[in-house]
Protein backbone atom coordinates (compact mmCIF):
# COMPACT_ATOMS: atom_id res chain seq x y z
CA UNK A 1 0.00 0.00 0.00
CA UNK A 2 1.29 3.46 -0.77
CA UNK A 3 2.35 5.71 2.04
CA UNK A 4 4.07 8.91 3.03
CA UNK A 5 7.22 9.81 4.90
CA UNK A 6 7.62 13.24 6.48
CA UNK A 7 11.13 14.57 6.98
CA UNK A 8 11.00 17.09 9.80
CA UNK A 9 13.92 19.35 10.67
CA UNK A 10 13.91 21.04 14.07
CA UNK A 11 16.11 23.21 16.26
CA UNK A 12 17.34 20.12 18.09
CA UNK A 13 17.33 17.26 15.64
CA UNK A 14 15.45 15.55 12.83
CA UNK A 15 12.36 13.39 13.03
CA UNK A 16 10.87 11.04 10.47
CA UNK A 17 7.11 10.49 10.56
CA UNK A 18 5.76 7.64 8.46
CA UNK A 19 2.24 6.49 7.67
CA UNK A 20 0.32 4.43 5.18
CA UNK A 21 -1.92 6.02 2.60
CA UNK A 22 -4.71 6.60 5.09
CA UNK A 23 -2.45 8.96 7.03
CA UNK A 24 -4.21 8.29 10.30
CA UNK A 25 -1.56 6.44 12.31
CA UNK A 26 2.03 7.55 12.35
CA UNK A 27 5.33 6.01 13.34
CA UNK A 28 7.75 8.59 14.64
CA UNK A 29 11.50 8.08 14.71
CA UNK A 30 14.06 10.45 16.13
CA UNK A 31 15.61 12.59 17.19
CA UNK A 32 18.24 11.98 14.57
CA UNK A 33 21.34 14.15 15.06
CA UNK A 34 20.06 15.06 18.52
CA UNK A 35 21.02 18.51 19.68
CA UNK A 36 21.89 19.84 16.22
CA UNK A 37 19.86 22.24 14.12
CA UNK A 38 18.37 20.56 11.07
CA UNK A 39 17.49 23.36 8.70
CA UNK A 40 16.31 21.03 5.97
CA UNK A 41 16.04 17.41 4.84
CA UNK A 42 14.89 16.26 1.44
CA UNK A 43 14.64 13.03 -0.52
CA UNK A 44 15.68 12.42 -4.09
CA UNK A 45 12.75 12.28 -6.51
CA UNK A 46 14.79 9.74 -8.49
CA UNK A 47 15.45 7.45 -5.53
CA UNK A 48 13.23 7.91 -2.48
CA UNK A 49 15.67 6.05 -0.24
CA UNK A 50 18.36 8.66 -0.92
CA UNK A 51 17.94 11.49 1.58
CA UNK A 52 20.05 14.53 2.29
CA UNK A 53 20.07 16.51 5.52
CA UNK A 54 21.60 19.83 6.52
CA UNK A 55 22.88 19.56 10.09
CA UNK A 56 24.47 22.56 11.75
CA UNK A 57 25.56 23.88 15.09
CA UNK A 58 26.80 27.17 16.43
CA UNK A 59 29.67 25.27 18.01
CA UNK A 60 30.72 22.84 15.32
CA UNK A 61 29.48 24.34 12.06
CA UNK A 62 27.95 22.62 9.07
CA UNK A 63 27.53 18.94 8.28
CA UNK A 64 25.73 17.29 5.39
CA UNK A 65 24.30 13.86 6.12
CA UNK A 66 23.21 11.33 3.53
CA UNK A 67 21.01 8.26 3.86
CA UNK A 68 20.63 5.45 1.36
CA UNK A 69 17.89 3.60 3.22
CA UNK A 70 15.17 6.16 3.72
CA UNK A 71 16.59 7.59 6.92
CA UNK A 72 17.28 4.44 8.91
CA UNK A 73 21.03 5.07 8.78
CA UNK A 74 23.05 8.13 7.86
CA UNK A 75 26.61 8.98 6.93
CA UNK A 76 28.33 12.35 6.99
CA UNK A 77 29.48 13.51 3.56
CA UNK A 78 31.22 16.66 2.41
CA UNK A 79 30.88 19.85 4.42
CA UNK A 80 33.32 22.13 2.67
CA UNK A 81 31.47 25.07 1.12
CA UNK A 82 34.10 27.41 -0.28
CA UNK A 83 33.08 30.42 -2.35
CA UNK A 84 34.85 30.42 -5.68
CA UNK A 85 37.44 33.08 -6.30
CA UNK A 86 37.64 36.20 -4.20
CA UNK A 87 34.12 36.33 -2.79
CA UNK A 88 33.89 40.11 -2.47
CA UNK A 89 31.26 41.84 -0.39
CA UNK A 90 27.54 42.21 0.01
CA UNK A 91 25.82 44.93 2.01
CA UNK A 92 25.63 44.66 5.76
CA UNK A 93 22.62 45.74 7.81
CA UNK A 94 24.04 49.24 8.11
CA UNK A 95 24.71 49.51 4.38
CA UNK A 96 28.46 49.01 4.63
CA UNK A 97 30.24 46.38 2.51
CA UNK A 98 30.60 43.06 4.29
CA UNK A 99 32.67 40.10 3.13
CA UNK A 100 30.86 36.97 2.08
CA UNK A 101 31.11 34.38 4.89
CA UNK A 102 29.68 30.88 4.82
CA UNK A 103 27.40 30.20 7.80
CA UNK A 104 25.09 27.28 7.04
CA UNK A 105 23.07 25.39 4.45
CA UNK A 106 19.46 26.48 4.49
CA UNK A 107 18.02 24.28 1.76
CA UNK A 108 18.94 21.11 -0.11
CA UNK A 109 17.31 20.36 -3.45
CA UNK A 110 18.09 16.99 -5.03
CA UNK A 111 18.03 16.72 -8.81
CA UNK A 112 14.79 15.51 -10.34
CA UNK A 113 16.62 12.76 -12.23
CA UNK A 114 19.97 11.93 -10.60
CA UNK A 115 20.19 10.89 -6.94
CA UNK A 116 23.84 11.95 -6.75
CA UNK A 117 23.20 15.51 -7.91
CA UNK A 118 21.97 17.93 -5.28
CA UNK A 119 21.90 21.69 -4.89
CA UNK A 120 22.54 23.55 -1.65
CA UNK A 121 21.33 27.05 -0.88
CA UNK A 122 23.52 28.65 1.75
CA UNK A 123 23.97 31.69 3.98
CA UNK A 124 25.65 34.03 3.03
CA UNK A 125 23.61 33.60 -0.10
CA UNK A 126 25.12 31.38 -2.75
CA UNK A 127 24.23 28.24 -4.65
CA UNK A 128 26.38 25.12 -4.54
CA UNK A 129 26.03 21.86 -6.45
CA UNK A 130 27.32 18.38 -5.78
CA UNK A 131 27.36 15.68 -8.44
CA UNK A 132 28.86 12.97 -6.25
CA UNK A 133 26.19 12.48 -3.66
CA UNK A 134 27.27 15.35 -1.45
CA UNK A 135 30.93 14.41 -1.10
CA UNK A 136 32.17 17.59 -2.77
CA UNK A 137 30.48 20.91 -3.41
CA UNK A 138 31.18 23.49 -6.08
CA UNK A 139 29.72 26.98 -6.10
CA UNK A 140 27.84 28.34 -9.11
CA UNK A 141 29.43 31.76 -8.61
CA UNK A 142 27.82 33.70 -11.45
CA UNK A 143 24.70 34.07 -9.31
CA UNK A 144 26.50 36.37 -6.89
CA UNK A 145 27.59 38.44 -9.88
CA UNK A 146 24.00 39.60 -10.39
CA UNK A 147 24.33 42.70 -8.24
CA UNK A 148 25.44 40.63 -5.27
CA UNK A 149 27.24 43.66 -3.92
CA UNK A 150 23.78 45.19 -3.32
CA UNK A 151 22.22 42.21 -1.55
CA UNK A 152 21.48 42.80 2.09
CA UNK A 153 20.49 40.28 4.76
CA UNK A 154 16.97 40.13 6.09
CA UNK A 155 16.51 39.84 9.83
CA UNK A 156 17.11 36.10 9.59
CA UNK A 157 20.29 36.40 7.57
CA UNK A 158 21.26 36.52 3.90
CA UNK A 159 20.00 33.08 3.06
CA UNK A 160 19.41 31.36 -0.26
CA UNK A 161 16.36 29.44 0.91
CA UNK A 162 14.42 28.33 -2.15
CA UNK A 163 15.55 26.23 -5.10
CA UNK A 164 12.96 25.20 -7.68
CA UNK A 165 13.92 22.93 -10.56
CA UNK A 166 11.80 23.06 -13.69
CA UNK A 167 10.81 19.58 -14.86
CA UNK A 168 10.07 20.75 -18.39
CA UNK A 169 13.33 22.68 -18.84
CA UNK A 170 16.14 20.59 -17.32
CA UNK A 171 18.57 23.53 -17.33
CA UNK A 172 16.16 25.99 -15.73
CA UNK A 173 16.62 26.78 -12.03
CA UNK A 174 14.77 29.31 -9.92
CA UNK A 175 16.24 30.43 -6.62
CA UNK A 176 15.13 32.95 -4.01
CA UNK A 177 17.12 34.90 -1.45
CA UNK A 178 16.20 37.01 1.55
CA UNK A 179 16.64 39.85 0.88
CA UNK A 180 17.66 39.90 -2.74
CA UNK A 181 14.72 38.36 -4.61
CA UNK A 182 14.15 35.72 -7.27
CA UNK A 183 16.74 34.76 -9.87
CA UNK A 184 16.49 32.38 -12.80
CA UNK A 185 19.05 30.47 -14.80
CA UNK A 186 18.20 28.82 -18.12
CA UNK A 187 21.62 27.23 -18.58
CA UNK A 188 22.05 25.07 -15.48
CA UNK A 189 23.46 27.86 -13.37
CA UNK A 190 26.02 29.37 -15.72
CA UNK A 191 24.20 32.68 -16.05
CA UNK A 192 21.41 34.26 -14.03
CA UNK A 193 18.85 37.03 -14.32
CA UNK A 194 16.86 38.75 -11.56
CA UNK A 195 13.16 37.99 -11.92
CA UNK A 196 11.54 40.59 -9.70
CA UNK A 197 9.49 42.76 -12.04
CA UNK A 198 6.18 43.55 -10.41
CA UNK A 199 7.36 43.06 -6.85
CA UNK A 200 6.85 46.11 -4.69
CA UNK A 201 8.55 46.76 -1.36
CA UNK A 202 7.57 50.31 -0.39
CA UNK A 203 8.37 49.86 3.29
CA UNK A 204 11.64 48.02 2.84
CA UNK A 205 13.38 49.58 -0.15
CA UNK A 206 14.05 53.20 -1.17
CA UNK A 207 13.03 52.20 -4.71
CA UNK A 208 9.94 50.02 -4.22
CA UNK A 209 10.38 48.53 -7.71
CA UNK A 210 14.11 47.81 -7.41
CA UNK A 211 15.59 45.11 -9.60
CA UNK A 212 17.06 43.33 -6.56
CA UNK A 213 16.57 43.63 -2.82
CA UNK A 214 13.06 42.24 -2.33
CA UNK A 215 12.51 39.96 0.63
CA UNK A 216 11.03 36.91 -1.06
CA UNK A 217 10.08 34.27 1.49
CA UNK A 218 9.21 31.29 -0.70
CA UNK A 219 8.22 30.38 -4.24
CA UNK A 220 6.28 27.32 -5.40
CA UNK A 221 5.53 25.66 -8.71
CA UNK A 222 3.21 22.93 -9.93
CA UNK A 223 5.21 20.43 -11.96
CA UNK A 224 2.50 20.17 -14.63
CA UNK A 225 2.51 23.92 -15.24
CA UNK A 226 6.01 25.15 -14.57
CA UNK A 227 5.56 28.57 -16.15
CA UNK A 228 3.25 29.54 -13.29
CA UNK A 229 4.94 30.45 -10.03
CA UNK A 230 3.46 31.48 -6.72
CA UNK A 231 5.29 33.54 -4.14
CA UNK A 232 4.90 34.42 -0.51
CA UNK A 233 6.82 37.66 -0.16
CA UNK A 234 7.65 39.42 3.09
CA UNK A 235 4.38 41.19 2.48
CA UNK A 236 2.17 40.21 -0.49
CA UNK A 237 1.26 36.92 -2.11
CA UNK A 238 2.29 37.08 -5.76
CA UNK A 239 1.81 35.09 -8.94
CA UNK A 240 3.74 34.89 -12.20
CA UNK A 241 2.30 33.38 -15.38
CA UNK A 242 5.47 33.79 -17.41
CA UNK A 243 8.13 31.88 -15.47
CA UNK A 244 9.03 34.81 -13.30
CA UNK A 245 9.34 37.48 -15.98
CA UNK A 246 6.60 39.48 -14.23
CA UNK A 247 4.56 39.21 -11.05
CA UNK A 248 1.15 40.39 -9.94
CA UNK A 249 -0.33 40.46 -6.50
CA UNK A 250 -3.00 37.87 -5.60
CA UNK A 251 -3.32 38.55 -1.86
CA UNK A 252 -7.02 39.27 -2.32
CA UNK A 253 -9.08 38.78 0.83
CA UNK A 254 -6.36 37.32 3.05
CA UNK A 255 -6.53 38.68 6.62
CA UNK A 256 -2.84 39.60 6.27
CA UNK A 257 -0.56 38.99 3.33
CA UNK A 258 2.56 38.49 5.45
CA UNK A 259 3.74 34.92 5.85
CA UNK A 260 6.45 32.44 5.02
CA UNK A 261 5.43 29.19 3.23
CA UNK A 262 3.36 28.74 0.11
CA UNK A 263 2.32 25.43 -1.44
CA UNK A 264 0.46 24.11 -4.46
CA UNK A 265 -2.04 21.21 -4.48
CA UNK A 266 -0.54 18.12 -6.11
CA UNK A 267 -3.31 17.65 -8.66
CA UNK A 268 -4.90 21.09 -8.99
CA UNK A 269 -2.37 23.65 -10.23
CA UNK A 270 -4.60 26.57 -9.28
CA UNK A 271 -5.17 25.44 -5.70
CA UNK A 272 -2.64 27.09 -3.43
CA UNK A 273 -2.05 27.41 0.29
CA UNK A 274 -0.55 30.01 2.61
CA UNK A 275 -0.43 30.53 6.36
CA UNK A 276 -1.05 34.21 7.11
CA UNK A 277 1.08 35.68 9.88
CA UNK A 278 0.20 38.95 11.56
CA UNK A 279 3.21 41.04 10.63
CA UNK A 280 6.97 41.19 10.24
CA UNK A 281 7.36 42.13 13.89
CA UNK A 282 4.60 39.86 15.22
CA UNK A 283 5.41 36.41 13.89
CA UNK A 284 2.20 34.64 14.88
CA UNK A 285 -1.25 34.13 13.38
CA UNK A 286 -3.72 37.01 13.60
CA UNK A 287 -6.16 36.83 16.51
CA UNK A 288 -4.43 33.77 17.95
CA UNK A 289 -6.13 31.57 15.33
CA UNK A 290 -3.98 29.17 13.35
CA UNK A 291 -5.53 29.16 9.89
CA UNK A 292 -4.32 27.83 6.58
CA UNK A 293 -5.81 29.74 3.69
CA UNK A 294 -6.64 28.01 0.43
CA UNK A 295 -7.36 29.56 -2.92
CA UNK A 296 -8.87 27.37 -5.63
CA UNK A 297 -8.50 30.13 -8.18
CA UNK A 298 -4.76 30.66 -8.15
CA UNK A 299 -5.06 33.54 -5.72
CA UNK A 300 -7.25 36.54 -4.89
CA UNK A 301 -10.14 34.50 -3.46
CA UNK A 302 -9.17 32.71 -0.28
CA UNK A 303 -10.97 30.55 2.26
CA UNK A 304 -9.86 29.84 5.81
CA UNK A 305 -9.20 26.22 6.73
CA UNK A 306 -9.65 25.82 10.45
CA UNK A 307 -11.10 22.40 11.19
CA UNK A 308 -8.79 20.72 13.69
CA UNK A 309 -6.45 23.69 14.08
CA UNK A 310 -6.32 25.78 17.27
CA UNK A 311 -8.64 28.76 17.03
CA UNK A 312 -7.68 30.55 20.20
CA UNK A 313 -4.51 31.47 22.06
CA UNK A 314 -2.19 30.19 19.34
CA UNK A 315 0.97 32.23 18.81
CA UNK A 316 3.29 30.01 16.82
CA UNK A 317 4.92 30.68 13.48
CA UNK A 318 5.20 28.48 10.39
CA UNK A 319 8.57 28.92 8.69
CA UNK A 320 9.19 29.05 4.96
CA UNK A 321 10.32 25.45 4.48
CA UNK A 322 7.83 24.00 6.96
CA UNK A 323 4.91 23.16 4.67
CA UNK A 324 4.70 20.28 2.21
CA UNK A 325 2.19 18.59 -0.09
CA UNK A 326 2.02 14.88 -0.89
CA UNK A 327 0.83 13.44 -4.20
CA UNK A 328 -1.57 10.72 -3.10
CA UNK A 329 -4.95 10.71 -4.85
CA UNK A 330 -6.45 12.61 -1.96
CA UNK A 331 -3.80 15.26 -1.66
CA UNK A 332 -2.22 15.53 1.78
CA UNK A 333 -0.91 18.74 3.29
CA UNK A 334 1.46 19.11 6.24
CA UNK A 335 3.05 21.90 8.20
CA UNK A 336 5.18 22.32 11.29
CA UNK A 337 5.24 25.17 13.78
CA UNK A 338 7.77 26.91 15.94
CA UNK A 339 5.80 25.46 18.86
CA UNK A 340 6.80 21.95 17.84
CA UNK A 341 3.52 20.75 16.38
CA UNK A 342 3.26 19.01 13.02
CA UNK A 343 -0.24 19.09 11.58
CA UNK A 344 -1.49 16.97 8.73
CA UNK A 345 -4.52 16.91 6.50
CA UNK A 346 -5.34 13.95 4.27
CA UNK A 347 -8.09 15.80 2.40
CA UNK A 348 -6.39 18.82 0.88
CA UNK A 349 -6.79 20.96 3.98
CA UNK A 350 -10.46 20.45 4.84
CA UNK A 351 -9.70 18.71 8.14
CA UNK A 352 -6.53 18.79 10.19
CA UNK A 353 -5.08 16.79 13.04
CA UNK A 354 -1.81 17.01 14.92
CA UNK A 355 0.59 14.22 14.02
CA UNK A 356 2.90 15.17 16.85
CA UNK A 357 2.62 18.04 19.30
CA UNK A 358 5.79 18.51 21.27
CA UNK A 359 8.84 18.51 19.05
CA UNK A 360 11.47 21.23 19.23
CA UNK A 361 10.70 24.25 17.06
CA UNK A 362 10.10 22.99 13.53
CA UNK A 363 12.32 24.48 10.84
CA UNK A 364 11.31 22.39 7.84
CA UNK A 365 8.85 19.76 6.68
CA UNK A 366 9.17 17.75 3.49
CA UNK A 367 7.04 14.82 2.41
CA UNK A 368 7.83 11.85 0.26
CA UNK A 369 5.00 9.94 -1.39
CA UNK A 370 6.05 6.31 -1.42
CA UNK A 371 4.81 3.56 -3.76
Amino acid sequence: MSGVRLLVGTRKGAFILASDGKRERWDISGPHFAGWELYHLKGSPADPNRLYASQSSGWFGQQIQRSNDGGKTWEPVGNKFAYLGVPGTHQWYDGTPHPWEFKRVWHLEPSLTDPDTVYAGVEDAALFRSTDGGQTWLELPELRGVKGHLWQPGAGGLGLHTIVLDPSHPDRIFIAISAAGVFRSDDAGQTWRPMNRGLKSPNELPDPDAEVGHCVHRIAMHSARPSVLFMQKHWDVMRSDDAGESWREVSGNLPTDFGFPIGVHAHQPDTIYVVPIKSDSEHYPPDGKLRVYRSRTGGNEWEALTHGLPQRDCYVNVLRDAMAVDSLDSCGLYFGTTGGQVYGSADAGDRWAPIVRDLPAVLSVEVQTLP
Binding site: W59, F60, Q62, N79
Partner: protein, 98 residues
Protein backbone atom coordinates in the same frame (compact mmCIF):
# COMPACT_ATOMS: atom_id res chain seq x y z
CA UNK B 1 50.22 8.28 21.40
CA UNK B 2 48.27 11.40 22.26
CA UNK B 3 44.99 11.17 24.14
CA UNK B 4 42.20 13.41 22.84
CA UNK B 5 38.82 13.91 24.44
CA UNK B 6 36.12 15.08 22.05
CA UNK B 7 32.85 16.76 23.02
CA UNK B 8 29.83 14.48 22.90
CA UNK B 9 28.46 15.78 19.58
CA UNK B 10 31.76 15.20 17.83
CA UNK B 11 32.13 11.73 19.35
CA UNK B 12 28.74 10.90 17.86
CA UNK B 13 29.70 12.40 14.53
CA UNK B 14 32.97 10.48 14.40
CA UNK B 15 31.38 7.31 15.73
CA UNK B 16 33.76 6.93 18.68
CA UNK B 17 33.32 6.28 22.37
CA UNK B 18 35.59 7.54 25.10
CA UNK B 19 39.01 8.98 24.42
CA UNK B 20 40.68 8.91 21.03
CA UNK B 21 44.31 7.80 20.93
CA UNK B 22 46.35 9.18 18.07
CA UNK B 23 49.94 8.76 16.92
CA UNK B 24 51.51 12.17 16.35
CA UNK B 25 54.87 12.43 14.63
CA UNK B 26 57.27 15.25 15.40
CA UNK B 27 56.60 18.06 17.85
CA UNK B 28 53.28 17.72 19.64
CA UNK B 29 51.38 20.92 18.89
CA UNK B 30 47.74 21.87 18.48
CA UNK B 31 48.18 21.78 14.72
CA UNK B 32 49.86 18.36 14.76
CA UNK B 33 47.17 16.89 16.99
CA UNK B 34 44.33 18.32 14.92
CA UNK B 35 45.96 17.22 11.68
CA UNK B 36 46.21 13.68 13.01
CA UNK B 37 42.67 13.79 14.34
CA UNK B 38 41.19 15.00 11.03
CA UNK B 39 43.25 12.47 9.07
CA UNK B 40 41.79 9.64 11.15
CA UNK B 41 38.26 11.11 11.23
CA UNK B 42 37.68 13.19 8.07
CA UNK B 43 34.12 13.99 9.11
CA UNK B 44 35.58 16.24 11.82
CA UNK B 45 37.10 18.59 9.25
CA UNK B 46 35.47 21.97 9.59
CA UNK B 47 33.96 21.22 12.99
CA UNK B 48 36.89 22.27 15.19
CA UNK B 49 38.72 24.68 12.91
CA UNK B 50 37.82 26.39 9.66
CA UNK B 51 38.32 24.36 6.48
CA UNK B 52 40.30 27.06 4.73
CA UNK B 53 41.97 29.23 7.37
CA UNK B 54 42.43 26.47 9.97
CA UNK B 55 41.47 28.99 12.63
CA UNK B 56 39.72 27.56 15.69
CA UNK B 57 35.95 27.89 15.50
CA UNK B 58 34.80 30.62 17.90
CA UNK B 59 32.86 28.34 20.27
CA UNK B 60 35.49 25.63 20.52
CA UNK B 61 38.06 25.61 23.30
CA UNK B 62 41.23 23.59 23.91
CA UNK B 63 42.08 22.62 27.49
CA UNK B 64 44.86 20.50 28.97
CA UNK B 65 46.50 20.19 32.36
CA UNK B 66 43.93 22.59 33.84
CA UNK B 67 44.99 25.31 31.39
CA UNK B 68 43.05 27.02 28.63
CA UNK B 69 45.25 26.64 25.57
CA UNK B 70 42.68 28.02 23.14
CA UNK B 71 44.61 31.18 22.41
CA UNK B 72 48.02 29.57 22.14
CA UNK B 73 49.64 29.65 18.69
CA UNK B 74 48.81 26.47 16.77
CA UNK B 75 52.48 25.55 16.46
CA UNK B 76 53.35 26.07 20.13
CA UNK B 77 54.35 22.85 21.91
CA UNK B 78 51.64 21.32 24.05
CA UNK B 79 52.50 20.49 27.67
CA UNK B 80 54.81 17.53 28.21
CA UNK B 81 52.05 15.73 30.05
CA UNK B 82 49.98 15.78 26.83
CA UNK B 83 52.94 14.73 24.70
CA UNK B 84 53.58 11.77 26.99
CA UNK B 85 49.88 10.89 27.22
CA UNK B 86 49.85 11.41 30.95
CA UNK B 87 47.07 13.94 30.39
CA UNK B 88 44.50 14.20 27.59
CA UNK B 89 44.06 17.11 25.19
CA UNK B 90 40.49 18.29 25.69
CA UNK B 91 38.42 19.73 22.84
CA UNK B 92 35.46 21.47 24.41
CA UNK B 93 32.29 23.14 23.21
CA UNK B 94 32.41 26.55 24.84
CA UNK B 95 29.82 27.48 27.41
CA UNK B 96 27.13 29.34 25.53
CA UNK B 97 23.65 30.32 26.48
CA UNK B 98 22.32 31.68 29.71
Amino acid sequence: MIRVVLPAHLRTLAGVEGEVKLPVEGPVTQRAVLDALEARYPMLRGTIRDHLTHRRRPFVRFFACKQDLSHEPPDAPLPDAVATAAEPFLIVGAMAGG
